[in-house]
Point group: C2
Chain length 265, copies 2
């Protein structure tokens, strides 16, 4: 049986609140076995950008990354947030190592081609088989926990702002060639809800047939559909399970408990 790995992605609702973050990092440090943390940080980047006289430019919910914005997110994601997460995990005896996709060429990417919209210095990752899995495996052997900021690079000297969900799923798929991977997306709800108005209506287990049935009925909140489609795509590429749930329940989720929505084939 291959070694288990949890790839855990956290977003703004964890990073933007000091108490939530403290609690999450304590829980994360106690998750047994090899684990990988992936973080964004858009809200904090926007706040710091404002101090520097920059307004975020958004198109279709995505940040447009001009040269100044790339500098900003490199400072905030790669420096401020990433290195503080590392220091705070070290204080919890979790041997964290901060990374971007550029470091050890872990996640090669390319600048998104311009079609209707020029997103600027935004990265689309290359196929998961380009990920430097050998390096990540050597970290696992040493008990080192990688913490990824949402940045990649083009191999030609430029960093690229990259969607953190995509980084998490790319890493999860790549690691599936050697490990049994659980991909966990922490978000602001307890899981995927049957009824958006009812926090207790969490779907505990989602499989392809049931998902198709719910989609046909229009029973799933439209905003969740891309996340779920991506989850099933990751499963088809070898990830063992995807769980969408609340960061406050990360220990139960990582232990394979009842919390969150567990998605499997």
């Amino acid at each position: 049986m291959s070694t288990k790995i949890s790839v855990i992605k956290i977003g703004g609702n964890v990073l933007d609140n000091a108490d939530n973050l403290e609690r999450f990092l304590t829980d994360f440090s106690l998750v047994p076995g090899f684990k990988v943390l992936v973080h964004g940080g858009g809200t904090i980047a926007s706040e710091i950008g404002k101090k520097m006289g920059m307004e975020p430019i958004m198109i279709n919910g995505r940040r447009v990354t001009d040269a100044n914005t790339l500098h900003l997110v490199t400072m905030v994601y790669g420096g401020l947030l990433n290195k503080n997460l590392v220091a705070q995990l070290q204080a919890r005896k979790c041997n964290a190592l901060g990374l971007t996709g550029a470091d050890a060429n872990v996640i090669p990417a390319h600048k998104r081609p311009v079609k209707d919209i020029d997103y600027g210095f935004v990265g689309d990752v290359e196929s998961p088989d380009q990920v430097n899995v050998a390096f990540l495996a050597s970290l696992a052997e040493q008990g080192i926990v990688p913490v990824f900021a949402a940045l990649t690079h083009d191999g030609e000297g430029s960093l690229l702002n990259t969607n953190a969900d995509t980084i998490a799923s790319t890493l999860a798929v790549a690691l599936s060639t050697r490990f049994e991977v659980n991909l966990i997306y922490c978000f602001e709800k307890k899981g995927v809800l049957l009824n958006v108005e009812d926090e207790t209506s969490v779907i505990h287990h989602l499989q392809p047939n049931y998902y198709a049935e719910l989609k046909d009925k229009g029973a799933i909140f439209a905003g969740m559909l891309p996340k779920l489609d991506n989850a099933f795509a990751a499963l088809e590429q070898g990830v063992k399970a995807v769980v969408i749930g609340d960061a406050a329940e990360i220990q139960d989720i990582a232990a394979g408990g009842k919390a969150g929505t567990r998605i499997t084939l």
Copy 2:
């Protein structure tokens, strides 16, 4: 015979000039064997701080690091400079990995005790035998080149602003337990000068007796004395040679050529 390593420290005169930096990174990527890069970045941090309405606070030539300044240098050293150096080295097929002393707990430190002056969040590194040499050795085996920003941590969750020269010498001493280490300080002159006014008066080789003699005569520029005392201290702790020279001559220096001032016991 043990494997050779070059630990190379660059300062403002390389980082602050795009042409110098491009040239240096190309030369650095061509230095054969295992190598470690250490960088500062004070001038750029001060410039970005000004955009955010912050004025640098200096006492006795050292930056006082209040909480906001710690955020600033974490963004600039750990993010902007470090990750761009990594991306630019990757473009030169040098498999760089950006690090602070917090990552993989490579360089433990403690906050400098307050005596006459409170330097704030400034780190004094623990003894070199606390450095995580096993991790650095595993990088060497994988052909990965660590790039260190001048930050350490206290093991209790706080990052610490730390002198880049000290980080370089601490790493050099620590690595000397397993490798044959050359410690190279790049600065704005071609080497230690016998006559500060004369750029051609480089001392090519400095050994303890000659150094004592020059010191007695008052023949060495006062500003160089702490750097040279530190160099001899590193040699006494196992470093093979310390070279002080011009970044533009890094290839000759790393190859053991005539450039720079070579300091040995």
